[in-house]
Amino acid sequence: MEYEIVIGMEIHVELGTKTKIFCSCPTEFGQDENTHTCPVCLGMPGVLPVLNEKVVEYATRAGLALNCEIAHFSKMDRKNYFYPDLPKAYQTSQFDLPICTGGAVGIEVDGVKKDIGITRIHIEEDAGKLLHESADGTLLDVNRCGVPLIEIVTEPDLRSAEEARAFAEKVRNILEYTGVSDCKMEQGSMRFDVNLSIREKGTEVLGTRTEMKNLNSFRALIRAVQYESKRQIIELKKGREIIQETRKWDDTKGVSSSLRSKEEAHDYRYFPEPDLVPIVLEPSYIERIKSKLPELPEAKKKRYVEEYKLPEYDAGVLTTTGVTARFFEEAVALYNEPKQISNWMMVEIPPLLKENEQSMETITITPALLVELLKLVRDKVISGTSGKEVLKEMFVSGKNAGDIVKEQGLAQMSDTGELEAIIEKIVADNPKSVEDIGAGNEKAYGFLTGQVMKATKGKANAQVANEIIRAVVARHLA
């Protein structure tokens, strides 16, 4: 029997607003515990929430970028449950009337294109962090409580770990582009929940599904899906039933395990949030957000191929993230050599980022600094090889290319008079090589060129040097 994996995803994304969803505390990550709190996000008695306007704007923007309908009327609801990371003992979220519905995102896996349906996107608040550092208890940090989230819920349209990954990457890419989130997975800004079931290929009915929550890397997503689908297929082959449950993915061990708690099924007692009023968005508001949407990756890639005549591959790599694309476009604006810029950005910069523990988000080299370097190479002031060395030094010292070239004396020697004198001496000192050349051994030129480079510490312009060598050797042979 052939099995089919059916996957639906829920993606939680922290929005990049300055303040929390219902209070004016900053959302900044990585601060000391419980220093970004106020009576509202601490859930103290008598406090009231007021919705951050940017949350509505960002959710709308995300919805439009993911091809959703934006609801004219939506409202907030309370989802009630007790947990220490939830100060009010209810999460303010959206239940039956979310802000966005019915979107789709195109993905491509192994050359096959397909659309993944988005059921809905809703606004909600993040919970706090539980720290397991105390010897005899658990500690609660409220800083993250109330950081705004959107939850993107897909249709069960995904069929493999690769599709799940492609979809997740595409969503991340789009959201990062629209500027609604930094999507930093290592900081938990983007987390995946996976609902997975198995059915006989060709059937329509969905199998019993399990849920895995809070997968926080693409690697974890892929491995969890692979493991869980294999596990379910084995269970089915053994004639066992799949139990509907939440399972925990252990990324270190690479296994999922049942999270069967003593608790009975959840009864969240959703009801409309009386402390918040409805969100009513007029077509004019939605139009305004739409008109301000940045160019999305797909369109950008196409434009790079057409406008900059870049190969499809280059255009794809440069548009992977918004910051990379912005860097490229700034550089091209200063210096109209798209292919040269692309080569350096794709080949030379990535290893240096890694070496210096930087990323395109934190890179210390500006597009202008890179352009200055590339112009020195183009004008043959330095060789390509020296250029790579200069770039390395730029990362380390933060100095600009011109200064580094001057300090290290890397400028190429193109002065023919000076070079001629050096070459005359080398040719005179190596009669054997001249003889070999006379006997038809072209390789001997290489030896002479090497000697010149050695004598000039690599500063000789290779092309100029070769011309002179040939002329001098010819004179000697004559």
């Binding site: 607003t17 300055k18 303040t19 004016s24 505390c25 900053p26 000391d32 515990e33 419980n34 220093t35 970004h36 709190t37 106020c38 009576p39 601490l42 007021v50 919705l51 951050n52 306007e53 940017k54 509505v56 409202k75 007790f82 220490p84 539980l130 720290l131 397991h132 550092e133 105390s134 005899d136 208890g137 658990t138 500690l139 609660l140 940090d141 409220v142 009975e264 009864d267 007692r269 409309p272 009386p274 918040l276 009023v277 409805p278 969100i279 009513v280």
Partner: protein
């Protein structure tokens, strides 16, 4: 309709409350009486009636995305029954 002891126990757990056997019996009676009284509602046909969540038609009340001052760590924890290392402390919970 009246409330069973099982109903009371189920709801108590949802609400994180616990009751003695006698209290469960008393609650089943008292809440049952209130629910019986509320049965009058079922006589009213509301199938075409919209629910009123807010009595006034206020909508789109938003805040500007501007940072205001927070409580200090000491202020945040001042009322806490138990704290440690700048955090609220609870009995160990599984990850």
């Amino acid at each position: 309709m009246s409330l069973t002891r099982e109903d009371v126990t189920y709801v108590a757990n949802l609400a994180r409350l616990e009751f003695s056997e006698d209290e469960v019996t008393a609650l089943a009676d008292q809440l049952g009486a209130v629910l019986d009284y509320a049965e009058t509602l079922s006589g009213l046909d509301t199938s075409h009636i919209k629910a009123t969540e807010h009595v006034l038609a206020v909508q789109n009340v938003f805040r500007e995305d501007e940072i205001k001052s927070c409580l200090t760590n000491e202020e945040a924890l001042a009322n806490a029954p138990e704290s440690e290392a700048g955090c609220f402390k609870v009995p160990r919970v599984m990850e």
